[in-house]
Symmetry: C2
Subunit: 132 residues, 2 copies
């Protein structure tokens, strides 16, 4: 650790700005005390995290316990930034909600006809930036 090393807390605005620039994050779920984690392509829509997925473990776990944590980060040799969103995930079934999610233009890494949108409504958003 040098004299220059520091930890900065990001404001909510800085957190959402950072998330808007990151293409990939990770979703953490918890079912019956078992955490799980999934990399996801995501987008930000009006301070919510949205992503597309298809039927599978992510959706099953979110259906059992909608509480989730989501993280995105960026690392360089000098600066590491990480933002964590905790909140509640829901599958979007209203046309207006789906349209708002579609409007983000998000394309999944494999655009293989995944047709379910999930939205995370945040309860807390925290960000840290480490500089060394």
């Amino acid at each position: 650790m040098t004299d220059k090393a520091s930890t900065t807390t990001l404001s909510a605005d800085e957190c959402w700005e950072f998330l808007g620039d990151r293409p990939v994050g990770r979703l953490a779920t918890a079912v019956a005390g078992e955490p799980d984690i999934f990399p996801i392509s995501f987008a930000v829509a009006e301070r919510h995290v949205v992503f597309r997925t298809h039927p599978g473990s992510k959706l099953v776990e979110v259906a059992v316990n909608a509480r989730v944590a989501f993280e995105a980060d960026e690392w360089t040799p000098e600066v590491a930034t990480s933002v964590v969103v905790k909140g509640t995930a829901e599958i979007l079934d209203r046309d207006a909600d789906v349209a708002a999610a579609e409007a983000t233009g998000l394309v999944s890494y494999l655009d293989d006809g995944k047709d379910v949108w999930v939205r995370i409504t945040p309860t807390t958003v925290t960000g840290r930036r480490l500089t060394r």
Copy 2:
């Protein structure tokens, strides 16, 4: 999705080789149904994930529920690889275990005197590579 797009499952050897090359991963924990997620610098020691940390939420959560999931990934425009380790985390308190962890040469992003080593003993290791 082009005709070339594909999903490949990695072997255990490929998973550990991939993890050995990645400097940063994310730890997911679950306490009382609340998932949490933390970016961590990590190393691989004899097919265990080890990392250093200091007293704080990661350690508290692992002490309450030692079940964890850990993920590392790498993305390029053409290839996305992700490996997930599920297992049990423990704080290392035996000198031999700490020495084995120290031997990895892992340096935390901020080397600020963190002095606790944590080891994840895997129950499952899975990896996927998406090519498009």
